[in-house]
């Protein structure tokens, strides 16, 4: 895993493209500002593929991106991107990495073509190649005739596509996407997530995508890294993560024998040994009638999940309640960071930090 000298790595990167090497590796990476510690001894290895970086606002996602691009030196620790050291080879890294910022970054009076060609040249592409790749890349992200119009008139979805195109135009080996679905409507969000998936599957470019929504990352990502307060909370494959994080939402009717069916079922399930989430925000409509059963806490394996389903079914049948719905819910990442339920979540995250990390991510 030790990186080769940068020159060699750049020469051999094409040959190594499909071998399971790390694209990003950090070693006790720490970033302290005078008032806050943005990253706290973060050690993580990220393999080729689509990796989600999840954390609440201020968790250290943007700081990590800045360090990975070689733009601000870390206080302590080391990091390497594509085998190059971020503190020494920032320029070489930025030549082979694409970056899509979270905020708007498009001048309104310039056309998408003009802008992306300029950005391609800023990445070192000769003029002819810059024009050819701009046309190709804009087509791949789904921008056609409108690419000759000034960008001021674009919709949010089109702007996001141009932002993605400028990050891909120089055929990077890795792109860093900062909250690419921000501000999009549900359809636009789905399109963007599919596009991100294609960036890896069709273009062969590894992706690190940040989000504060775990739900949208599980569809797109092979791996998920969760950070909070600059610390690594969890790094594992998406399958493992959503398995453990899965919840079963159960809603039942009330009957004459059980005027409060929800409470009756809660008691029954608790006595059957299942873990139930505390009744959540009183303000949310209907939340009083919804039971959230932790599927992962029962053991995490498929057998455990099935057992949970059976227990719920039997309990509902025994009580004679009508089952309105029983559906899988994923943790919304903001739940993970809610102040009132930190302890069980942290335990959950801490159950297998190293095994998960070492088999899946190293």
């Amino acid at each position: 895993m030790d990186p080769l000298p940068p020159g060699d790595v750049r020469r051999y990167t094409n040959a190594l493209a499909f071998l399971p090497v790390t694209v990003i590796a950090t070693q006790s990476l720490t970033m302290r500002y005078p008032r806050v510690t943005a990253l706290d001894r973060l050690t993580v290895d990220i393999t080729p593929g689509v990796t989600g970086l999840v954390g609440a606002n201020g968790a250290g996602k943007s700081t990590l991106i800045k360090i990975l691009l070689g733009l601000s030196p870390a206080t302590e620790g080391t990091a390497s991107v594509l085998g190059m050291d971020v503190s020494r080879d920032g320029g070489a890294i930025r030549e082979r990495v694409g970056y899509m910022p979270e905020h708007d970054c498009l001048p309104p009076d310039v056309s998408a073509t003009e802008f992306v060609v300029h950005m391609a040249r800023m990445s070192g592409l000769p003029p002819t190649a810059a024009r050819e790749r701009t046309a190709d890349t804009l087509r791949h992200v789904g921008l056609y005739e409108e690419r000759y119009r000034a960008m001021g008139g674009y919709s949010t979805g089109m702007k996001q596509r141009v932002k993605l195109a400028q990050a891909l135009v120089h055929d990077p080996r890795l792109v860093l996407l900062d909250e690419p679905t921000n501000g999009l409507d549900p359809v636009g969000r789905d399109d963007m997530l599919d596009l991100i998936r294609r960036v890896y599957t069709d273009f062969g470019i590894s992706v690190l995508v940040t989000s504060h929504l775990l739900g949208e990352l599980e569809r797109t990502c092979d791996h998920v890294v969760v950070i909070d307060g600059g610390k690594l909370l969890r790094a594992s494959t998406t399958a493992d993560f959503t398995q453990d994080a899965a919840l079963l939402a159960v809603e039942v009717t009330d009957t004459d024998t059980h005027p409060d069916g929800t409470a009756a079922l809660r008691t029954a399930l608790t006595s059957a040994g299942l873990t139930l989430q505390a009744p959540t925000e009183a303000g949310a409509p209907g939340s009083g009638h919804l039971l959230l059963v932790d599927v992962g806490a029962a053991g995490g394996a498929d057998a455990g999940a099935d057992a949970v389903h059976d227990t719920v079914r039997d309990a509902v049948a025994d009580l004679g309640l009508g089952l309105i719905r029983m559906e899988h819910r994923r943790h919304h990442i903001s739940e993970v960071f809610q102040d009132d339920t930190p302890a069980p979540q942290l335990e959950l995250a801490g159950t297998r930090p190293q095994e998960g990390g070492s088999d899946d991510v190293a």
Binding site: S62, K66, R94, P101, M122, P126
Partner: protein, 303 residues
Amino acid sequence: MSPEPSPPAVASRATDVIHNIGYRSYDGPRLGRAYARRSLFLQSLRGAYGLGRSAKSKVLPMILFAVMCLPAAIMVAVAVTTGLDELPVDYTAYASFLLPVISIFIAAVAPQTVSLDLRFKIVPLYFSRPIERADYVSAKFTALSSALFVFTAVPVVILYAGALLAKLDFVDQTKGFAQGLLAAAAFSLLYAAIGLAVAALTPRRGFGVAAIIAVFTIPYTLVSALQAIAEEQGSIDATGWLGLASPGTLMDGLQGKFLGGTTEFPGGRQLTGGEGVVYLLVIAAAIAGSYLLLLRRYRKAGL
């Protein structure tokens, strides 16, 4: 000869079909940091005249450029047709003669060069590419000084061409022309540095425009007034030192002393040798200081 000529013909026709070739990777050269800096320079220089931008952005710079060249063209026409024995204006004095037009040009173009990148947050995109912060500053500074040099030197070239057409003395005119180009270069460096440093302070273009006009006109008017008062009071020596306080009078003194022009100072006074050296130093310090301010400004800006 093959007995069946038709299959190859079919195959060759089949290759004419347009295929969706999917994603193509790029294995060509990556020209790196110096090339990226040059690209940014060219893009900013073109952008200063509105090239590669919307039609609306081209209007003002192009009109100003026409206004700048028109008097030179008229003078040349007069000189050629009436057979004057010298041009009606010195090469070095032409820029100060049209100083208000140049001030408006810088006020329009300097914010265009840097404020747009700040306002629309394009700066982080640049810094996520191979260039460093210093490259950004140097590209923008060279671009604006080149734009200004084109703006101030083209009329000088027109004057020179006209002078040659009018068969004025070649040696005299060439010397004046060279001095005029040097004055334009010094002028462009000083005004570009100050203009950029002011424009980079704010992402708001309107503020930038107002601030630059203020910086270039208020001290100049003030210094000229003080110089006039000083002359009234009989202390003509003070006018030289007062002239250090505004970019306009600095350039005026410089071209009067070193480039064979005449100054607009009261009584057309020329600087003494010592004053001349101080003027040179102050101009160099103003350029360097503004440049350092710019570097500082972009040390913090970024992702």
